[in-house]
Symmetry: D2
Subunit: 283 residues, 4 copies
Amino acid sequence: MTTAVLLLSCPDRPGIVAAVADFVFRHGGNIVDAQQHTDRTEGVFFQRIEFELEDADLDRDRIQPAMHELVDRFDMQCAVRFSDEVPRVGVLVSREGHCLVDLLARSRSGELAVEIPVVISNHEHEAEVASWFGVDYRYLPVTADTKPEQEAAMQRALDEHGVTLVVLARYMQILSPEFCDRWQERIINIHHSFLPAFSGGRPYHQAHERGVKLVGVTAHYATAALDDGPIIDQDVVRVSHRDSIEDLRRRGRDLEVVVLARAVRAHVEHRVLVHGRRTVVFD
Amino acid sequence: MTTAVLLLSCPDRPGIVAAVADFVFRHGGNIVDAQQHTDRTEGVFFQRIEFELEDADLDRDRIQPAMHELVDRFDMQCAVRFSDEVPRVGVLVSREGHCLVDLLARSRSGELAVEIPVVISNHEHEAEVASWFGVDYRYLPVTADTKPEQEAAMQRALDEHGVTLVVLARYMQILSPEFCDRWQERIINIHHSFLPAFSGGRPYHQAHERGVKLVGVTAHYATAALDDGPIIDQDVVRVSHRDSIEDLRRRGRDLEVVVLARAVRAHVEHRVLVHGRRTVVFD
Amino acid sequence: MTTAVLLLSCPDRPGIVAAVADFVFRHGGNIVDAQQHTDRTEGVFFQRIEFELEDADLDRDRIQPAMHELVDRFDMQCAVRFSDEVPRVGVLVSREGHCLVDLLARSRSGELAVEIPVVISNHEHEAEVASWFGVDYRYLPVTADTKPEQEAAMQRALDEHGVTLVVLARYMQILSPEFCDRWQERIINIHHSFLPAFSGGRPYHQAHERGVKLVGVTAHYATAALDDGPIIDQDVVRVSHRDSIEDLRRRGRDLEVVVLARAVRAHVEHRVLVHGRRTVVFD
Amino acid sequence: MTTAVLLLSCPDRPGIVAAVADFVFRHGGNIVDAQQHTDRTEGVFFQRIEFELEDADLDRDRIQPAMHELVDRFDMQCAVRFSDEVPRVGVLVSREGHCLVDLLARSRSGELAVEIPVVISNHEHEAEVASWFGVDYRYLPVTADTKPEQEAAMQRALDEHGVTLVVLARYMQILSPEFCDRWQERIINIHHSFLPAFSGGRPYHQAHERGVKLVGVTAHYATAALDDGPIIDQDVVRVSHRDSIEDLRRRGRDLEVVVLARAVRAHVEHRVLVHGRRTVVFD
């Protein structure tokens, strides 16, 4: 059953919940999920409301216009999504393919509702994997000097495949601010530390040197500020003095796979709202 | 700011969310939180809706009657609670006082919004603790023969203190079906296993013998069926072959304290709805 | 650097640690890891001692005979393993391939030091995956009537490939007691519940019906008693009333993959000692 | 049964394990636990070896001298501890008493083998709690100007009570480098973040602002470098956008209590070896 999802945010004030519920009801939509959150510090209201389209009297491209009056009245940000829109994901990867394989396998099994038409890498390692899954693999090596050209080539490949979401599945290059801005809130990165600890390079080395007792991973939207974008999900695993850097890497890999998949799922199910450096992630 | 909480459940059908939101809005209530859940297997809709009373045009004892029309229309169960109602908790305990001390300390610090006027025990151990906190301590020993009398004495003590919630903080006696029924959904028990594993007596012994790698605890509403009531919260902690039964007990204790406190908090914040053997626990 | 591992168990008494350490030292072995455990309830001593062979004066096939005197003196069980022995794993799978893919990928990347020459299934689903990885796939369908023949065919396939460890990667058939006995302590199963809760079929259905707040998985050695073999590893993930049975399955899958891989790793690194229904798993 | 514990570290080379085991055995000690670790990056060997004194031919004050030859041969650091030495703990606390109450309760119940003769605070809040437990409470207020005098008074109070371990149970003052040095590896602090993230003041505010999805706590030895001492234990708890700063504080408190108690336990059971900025914590 196809559903529409409204993702709303606006200054908090009385009457929003009732007005939105009434809007949906008047148009014949059956609400199947509604979640809200009020950030009391900043006085901002967030809502995700999902309703069945079947008996609704609005075509999908009429929903946003019909929301006009509410958007004006409450000074709202309003995005409209549909459950049958399948995001087209471009995966960027460097040398380590575990997250890539996992995303491809989840997409293939239908567990994750995404299509992955293209994999881009600055290495040739994972070409075979892409070929197994019948996915276009673009090998785009990069040096400090060729970065602008390489990013332009990436952009062309993403455009060509109609990509709507970029996933950095252990892509070890820093993207330019321009690239990040163009794909704002549409690039998900997995960083192999519990941010903000150990941002930047070689986080497992840093963790080992500091002697922490847990290592973590962080999935976040990439922004121009390195490792500082809004966090979508995080998790940790217990380690001990027995664990070498290689052991941390191995334990971390299992976590990277799961946390990245959870973050991508939250995004494609339209459950994430970004607010400054933070996110609201509905269940 | 005082709020009212509506806890609703009814057969699922279109229009409930809008109707309830509209009800609150028409009466001038500002909705500060609304959570819902639809059990698709059984077609049941659950909602918790919390609104500020300040500008509402209904006195608190008029809310339930005013809901009458909605209750009828949707065949609803509807409970009305208020954020400033402080439950009066009677704690039952046997020999191990860790959960009792924790609840008393949380109540005293204001972290947990409950009053604890009375502690009842079949042992004398924890009298000193109760006296520190200035709480009435009723020592009511029990044998197989005296159970009915002892339960009657417990009931009198609870009545005398106007108790509205009973917490079994490691109370090692089985309560009669009559007692459980009288306090339906108002007795919270902490069982020291990950139910349904290791129900009944000596769960840490059972866990040790089976060689499990995690031990757990379960907070649930007590029902006439032993260790089978609706589960409110559970958690586990990792153990290993190195852990003796005494070690399991020690690790478990830390968990019992936290999980029981979380469950009591969920209950007193009116976030728990019972549905058969299961619960809906809103965040 | 190749190492030898001694896995020892015997009745506890003074002098064992010193005698074993002295044995290794006298023969020129450099101890790189030694872990021990004493089960005080039953008075049994367990040890894993790993040493470098490089400067040792014993050929590998002379170690067991040379231990003879110690084995006699302390009434010891003694197994000798070597770090460069790579187990040959036969994976049995039914319809769900996530654990299979994971094991094949870990083997291929070298993360898990096993060879997987053969995959056996009562379904045809995963033939393509096996073919990607260049692994022999034996489709051996089974009915109640053909079970003995099917198990005999499985045994032949395992023999043919020189298999030394069988992994049940979501194999949904019950193995005969004879098969389990023949492969004693060499069959690792992943069960999709936190045993002993929800043994038998459809554990996620059982978990959903009971309304638990965590679902778990258990890796254990398979024995003739269903779901009752010695537990190697377990883990859980938090769920809520929002999770349908399909959601439990999905969350569980991620856990099954990781816990099974951890258990296989522990086994192939010779870190597991079985003692009755329990295991000692050294770090 | 009284046991002795040897805590050893030295440059790694063959023969250490055998030599130490032989030493204990020759002197009639029965080894009940032996754990070792080799830091391969730095080539350092660590060992904890625990043995029963009953049949040993050495008085306790003769063990260290008798180790002389081994210490010389292997260039060893060697500490000798005894299971019946009960540390005398001085607890420093500021305004929040949850860790203090917990430590006092664990000491009183015998779960934690420490005596707590004195509590020192720069506030008067927790005097009543100390009095319940019959513990001397020293109220020593401090300002920037009076810090040296206050620390001198603390030192006198600790000396007076024969304190051998200082626990900072949410003590919100920075100790001078001199004080930290005098109590090197004998001050355990609980910091309410997952270090190295959010060191310094108001970590829950920092965590809230950054929008992390887990908050953590860290127990570590205090050193002159703020929040940078060797980490003994850490843990985290999941949070969400729903959690206010006050919610983070509440969730954190439960974790602070447990992690601090685990760290103190590891220390008093002589299971911690410090190596530069890191620790080896045996199970």
